[in-house]
């Protein structure tokens, strides 16, 4: 050791080691947490690139936006049904007796700077959240990604869908306006309709016969801002954790097998794309919140149980239930001193229970019916499983038809037909359309299976005529990019330089990635 001297720039650089400050930081972290080894694996993690794998991210980032905007709203919202006299800026409400919840929401919309924007972003984001979950679930379903070993993830996802729908319903009922208050009245009656326990559950939850003593508002508030978000966050962590552990599925294709994952690396590519996507989802939501008005509660007035508006539908993800309630015939069972309102209980309790339970047990059902208990990491093309695709299409058609049935009055008005006729039409369509869609989808899938070269661009032919007058065809040269290239999947190297014009040399891969990836050779 030389005698201690003042550190110079050179010695400082030498002391830092070959990777500079970053290396030092990693060293310090690793001393305490042991993160370096796992971290390197994490950075090399491969994500398959197909666009449909990003649909779940729409849901994930919508959830983030919901929480961020929700925190803002919770700083101003007052969850109380105590009546106050409105004295704010919106003239048609002045002097009216409104609940504090309603007044605080109008205040957010008119009195808080940026409040209306955040409120609308929150509501649009909720609609997009549920919509993207449904689309994501459809992708999982139609490609068979719910099969072993991912059944648990499917179950967690279905539960998150149920929670998201519930969360949305409770959320838009918080402002206690005329339209959402009507929805709560309907909700109370649905709870009431449950045999044996309905009237008890109703008065328990609402604190008395509807509208109760006002405690429902506070209860809904805490369920909406704390309980359900906590549960969803926990389930989300499990959902993503399972995804990390089991790794993502992928479509069949060049170099892809049941035992590997082919795609782009976590750092920097996937992180850049996904962080960029987060901003894009947030930006799109903010643009919707800026330019498209949603739920203008000041136009509706505060909830009064003796007031009602026509053309009241719930938010779209509850529309299927509203449609089911409208088309149900008036079958109420009344006898032996009791009443079971089947016209409410069947469409509003039994039917959604059936739908969600079918979703939950589907992986087991498919295992039973196909006898397939093998691990699957490669995805099906929907056309390769016509029965499953037809069943899923029929289910979606049923839900969409019921959603249409909730707009009977709007449709009757728009198309100038009798309201009664529209309702009867939907009673018929609810049964006919899913069956029809199922059969047609099955047929299309079988057709597509039989077509050679399906999904690829058609190759042109050049027609030659010989001097004798005979025609002959020669396939034309393929367009660039259409040649079937077996792209060599390569393991992630340590150092990547962007010099695309140089030829790629076969890599000495064994030392470059500790994930033990192998070079795939043809």
């Amino acid at each position: 050791m030389s005698s201690p001297s003042l550190p110079t720039a050179k010695t400082k650089r030498q002391a830092l080691g070959p990777y500079g400050r970053v290396g030092n930081v990693i060293g310090e972290l690793d001393d305490r947490l042991g993160v370096a080894k796992g971290g390197r694996v994490f950075l090399d993690k491969i994500f398959p690139d197909h666009w449909s794998f990003m649909l779940g991210e729409i849901a994930l980032y919508s959830f983030v936006i919901l929480m961020a905007t929700g925190v803002f709203l919770s700083l101003y919202f007052v969850p109380s049904t105590t009546q106050v006299i409105y004295h704010g800026t919106y003239v048609p409400l002045r002097g009216q007796s409104v609940s504090e919840a309603y007044q605080s929401t109008v205040n957010i919309s008119f009195g808080v700077r940026g409040g209306l924007l955040i409120r609308q972003m929150h509501h649009w984001s909720a609609d997009i959240f549920v919509g993207s979950i449904v689309v994501h679930m459809a992708r999982i379903f139609f490609t068979g990604a719910f099969r072993k070993p991912r059944e648990l993830n499917w179950t967690i996802g279905t539960i998150m869908l149920i929670l998201a729908i519930l969360e949305g319903f409770i959320g838009y009922s918080l402002p206690d306006d005329l339209i959402s208050g009507t929805g709560l009245r309907i909700g109370y009656s649905i709870v009431e309709s449950i045999p044996f326990v309905g009237s008890y559950l109703g008065t328990f939850l609402w604190g008395g016969q509807f509208p109760g003593d006002g405690s429902i508002e506070g209860r809904f508030y805490i369920i909406h801002v704390l309980i359900i978000p906590l549960v969803i966050t926990g389930l989300l962590a499990a959902h993503l954790g399972l995804l990390v552990r089991q790794k993502h599925t992928q479509f069949k294709g060049e170099g892809r097998t049941e035992t590997n994952v082919v795609g782009s690396p976590m750092f920097p590519t996937f992180m850049a794309k996904t962080t960029g996507f987060l901003f894009m989802v947030a930006g799109a939501t903010a643009l919707l919140g800026a330019f498209a008005q949603i739920n203008p509660i000041w136009q509706f007035g505060s909830y009064d149980p003796s007031k009602i508006s026509y053309a009241v539908q719930p938010d779209w993800y509850m529309g299927w239930l509203d449609g089911a309630l409208r088309i149900m015939p008036s079958w109420e069972f009344a006898g032996w001193g009791h009443t079971i309102p089947l016209e409410v209980f069947l469409p509003a309790v039994i039917f959604p229970g059936l739908i969600f339970n079918i979703c939950l047990i589907w992986p087991a059902l498919e295992r039973r019916f196909t006898g397939d208990n093998a691990l699957h990491n490669l995805l099906d093309r929907p056309r390769d499983r016509p029965k499953r695709t037809a069943a899923g299409a029929a289910m979606l058609a049923l839900l969409f038809t019921l959603f249409g049935a909730s707009s009977t009055d709007v449709l009757a008005n728009y198309f100038h037909v009798s309201l009664n006729f529209v309702l009867w039409a939907f009673r018929v369509l609810t049964f006919v359309v899913p069956v029809l869609v199922g059969f047609v989808t099955y047929g299309i899938c079988r057709e597509m299976q039989g077509v050679q070269g399906i999904g690829k661009r058609k190759r042109a032919v050049i027609v030659h005529r010989s001097t004798e007058g005979e025609y002959s065809t020669v396939p034309a040269a393929p367009r660039p990019g259409d040649t079937h290239e077996e792209l060599e999947p390569e393991p992630v190297p340590v150092r990547i330089d962007v010099s695309p014009l140089a030829e790629a040399s076969p890599l000495t891969s064994t030392e470059s990635s500790p994930t033990g990836s192998r070079q795939v050779s043809r």
Binding site: I58, P92, F277, F300, Y310, W316, A412, S418
Partner: protein, 323 residues
């Protein structure tokens, strides 16, 4: 005309008609005091009120509600009669005016040309051969009714087989409408007369409250209108061609399937509702952006799914790979 015949006429009037008329008034007034039920019974039986008021003489009117301050001419602060005919009544909130007598002749001409083919030559819903005509009896409907149906373009009707006459560009001008109204009213005078709401001093907040209790159930809370039972409908009030006068008329006459608001809404309340419709329903506060038609979650759901999820899915399509 000889002066002796005029003189005889005047003597006749002075000797017999005037005392007779005063006696008749006195008799009826006594009857009304002694038997209040009798007067009420006659109202409820045929909605026909023969009332004598100092300024009006004997006036025969259909359709009067005897509730205070609800478009009741004989309880109004602005009653004006002339020659036994009701000219104007009302209060500071709404003034009801009958079209002038000079309009009757022109109105009869227009009626014969435009309306008699469906409503009968006597406007009584009877066609010349004695059968029931296509259109109903118009005698005793009042000037406001005729004015409403014509100025909204619903009459003359273009499709008699439709369930309800729809609003369309009016065939007759406003003055012509009043002329026809004057003629119809001359056949069997009735109330309400044509209302002119005085929107200055209206309380839009009261109007909003009343609108949500009485009107939103058919017209929706944003006034967008919607389809009702069996092919009927409640029209949109957001249409800026709906005038304050038409709204007041509709409330007081109850056209087609719309209920008639008489004693349950005072003139002040009607005026407040009219102000709310013309100010807030027709010029809604949409600070949040595009109003999306005011039909609520159906339109919002479409936008969220098509633009929101669909647009973001397109972005996914750009970012990711296609296999």
């Amino acid at each position: 005309m000889s002066s002796s015949r005029t003189h005889a006429r005047r003597t006749f009037r002075a000797k017999y008609l005037l005392p007779g008329g005063l006696l008749g008034i006195a008799a009826l007034g006594t009857l009304a005091l002694v038997f209040p039920g009798a007067a009420q019974a006659s109202t409820t039986k045929a909605q026909n009120v023969t009332a004598s008021v100092k300024a009006c003489g004997s006036v025969n009117l259909k359709g009067v509600s005897n509730v205070h301050n609800t478009g009741n001419p004989f309880d109004s602060t602005k009653l004006v009669c002339f020659d036994g005919m009701l000219i104007r009544y009302g209060d500071s909130a709404i003034t009801y005016t009958n079209p002038p007598k000079s309009y009757v002749a022109a109105g009869k001409l227009l009626f014969d040309q435009t309306c008699s083919s469906c409503h009968g030559s006597q406007a009584n819903g009877v066609s010349p051969n004695g059968q029931a005509a296509i259109g109903p009896n118009l005698q005793g409907v009042g000037a406001a009714t005729v004015d409403f149906w014509i100025t909204t373009g619903r009459m003359p009707d273009s499709d008699v087989r439709a369930v309800e006459a729809e609003r369309k560009p009016p065939r007759l001008t406003d003055t012509q409408a009043l002329q026809v109204a004057a003629y119809i009213n001359s056949l069997d005078p009735a109330v309400p007369a044509v209302p002119t709401p005085n929107l200055k001093g209206a309380d839009v907040a009261v109007g909003a409250d009343l609108f949500s209790l009485n009107c939103a159930a058919c017209h929706t809370i944003t006034g967008a209108g919607d389809a009702l039972a069996f092919g009927t409908n409640a029209p949109s009030l957001q249409d800026k061609q709906v005038t304050a006068q038409q709204v007041a008329e509709a409330l007081r006459i109850g056209p087609s399937n719309m209920p008639r608001f008489s004693g349950n809404l005072t003139d002040n309340q009607v005026r407040d509702v009219v102000a709310y419709v013309t100010e807030k329903i027709q010029h809604p506060a949409n600070p949040g952006g595009a109003g999306l038609g005011g039909v609520g979650p159906v339109a919002e759901g479409f936008i969220a799914l098509l633009l929101g999820v669909g647009g973001l899915a397109l972005i996914c399509f750009w970012i990711g790979e296609r296999s």
